[in-house]
């Protein structure tokens, strides 16, 4: 008797696929635009997801010598915007229901003031 095959993806497999898909998208954009350094930031305090995404992008972009930089929340450390200026683009990593409008808008305003390019946001629950 053979092993029972499950055709349904487990939660972990789904989560892994989602992260790979999102990081692939970022790496492809970096290749297309010739970016070498991508910054990752968030408007809230949480940095666990930030590190996970940044590590995945770094791993996937090894061939292209892609560098990633974690920029701690600009709401708390506005000085980090100068670090963001050095990056080719910045990606936000935000958690649903925890990302506040006021904080995100402050970060985006600061980025705009310093002409920092924002690629987009990766959201999670």
């Amino acid at each position: 008797m053979g092993e029972k095959k499950s055709y349904k993806l487990s939660k972990e497999e789904k989560a892994k696929g989602q992260i790979e898909y999102a990081t692939q998208l970022i790496v492809e954009q970096a290749r297309m635009n010739g970016w070498k350094q991508i910054g990752f930031t968030t408007s809230s305090k949480s940095d666990r997801a930030l590190k996970t995404i940044a590590e995945c992008v770094k791993e996937l972009g090894k061939k292209d010598e892609l560098e990633t930089q974690i920029l701690e929340t600009l709401t708390q450390y506005p000085k980090n915007v100068f670090e963001a200026e050095k990056c080719d683009t910045v990606v936000f990593v935000e958690r649903y229901a925890y990302c506040m409008y006021s904080e995100l808008e402050t970060c985006l305003e600061l980025m705009k003031k310093h002409n920092v390019s924002v690629l987009g946001v990766i959201t999670y629950r």
């Binding site: 939660k11 789904k14 989560a15 989602q18 992260i19 898909y21 999102a22 998208l25 970022i26 949480s46 666990r48 997801a49 996970t52 995404i53 990606v91 936000f92 935000e94 958690r95 649903y96 229901a97 925890y98 990302c99 506040m100 409008y101 006021s102 995100l104 808008e105 985006l108 924002v118 690629l119 987009g120 946001v121 990766i122 959201t123 999670y124 629950r125």
Partner: protein, 258 residues
């Protein structure tokens, strides 16, 4: 603030604060129950302390108040209401209790009342529970009813109250006469088990207080959470990010804790 607010935001917010709501409610309940246990409510027993008797001797006297004065505004009807109000006075309870206790000792009363009624539980207030009054439909005549487990004691109690009303009438300047219309008596069977259950039901037990306090605390916590999410809105859906000008590159699942 309000342009970002929808029904989904309310549910997301309440779900986000679920543990805080639960903890606040449990803490609130514990505090309220502790206060209730340390400083218990004084509840009034509506039912009778009848011990373990199975029937009550009930006697009713019907009377009206005849006004002989000249004041047009005073009628038997208005007098009835005023006289009945005196039944709640401390003086009335003390006066009637004195008359009753002249004839019966507390020991005697506790003796024929049976289990549940002790000498200590017989007070001026406890004796008042055996008497109640009603008026007829046109509020002209007063019906005074006493019911206890002892026939003679019931009679004594009823006479004590009648004596009180006569005294009140005498104090009104001899212009009011208490005119007795009829007297009747009957034996009423009671179901002791039902009486006790009813009495228990009417008591504010700590369990009842805890259940009510928990519901109130949950409601208050939810209202608190609602105001928190109303005045500090969060982004709860993909379109919220797009609305602030950010492209959503992907939606992933990451555990915040290990």
């Amino acid at each position: 603030m309000f342009e970002h607010f929808g029904l989904k935001d309310v549910f997301v917010g309440i779900w986000k604060y679920k543990w805080k709501i639960l903890i606040a409610s449990v803490l609130g309940t514990v505090i309220i129950v502790a206060i209730c246990a340390l400083f218990p409510f004084k509840t009034e027993k509506i039912d009778l302390d009848v011990g373990n008797v199975s029937e009550l001797q009930m006697k009713t006297v019907s009377f009206y108040l005849d006004y002989k004065g000249t004041g047009e505004s005073v009628t038997s009807k208005s007098l009835s209401a005023a006289f009945l109000a005196t039944m709640n006075d401390k003086e009335c309870r003390e006066y009637t209790a004195d008359l009753v206790l002249d004839k019966y000792s507390k020991k005697d009363i506790a003796g024929f009342m049976g289990n549940g009624v002790t000498e200590a539980s017989i007070t001026t207030n406890s004796l008042a529970q055996y008497v109640f009054s009603t008026t007829d439909e046109d509020k002209f005549a007063i019906k005074l009813t006493a019911r206890t487990s002892d026939e003679a004691f019931t009679e004594t109690l009823l006479d004590a109250y009648m004596s009180w009303f006569k005294q009140v009438a005498a104090n009104a300047g001899s212009q009011v006469n208490v005119v007795e219309l009829s007297r009747n008596e009957q034996v009423v069977s009671i179901d002791n088990s039902n009486t006790k259950t009813l009495m228990e039901k009417q008591q504010w037990s700590l369990t009842k207080v805890a259940a009510l306090a928990f519901v109130v605390c949950v409601l208050l916590s939810v209202i608190g959470a609602f105001f928190k999410i109303l005045f500090a809105p969060t982004l709860n859906r993909k379109s919220d990010f797009e609305a602030v000008g950010l492209t959503v590159l992907g939606e992933v699942s990451i555990k915040e804790r290990n």
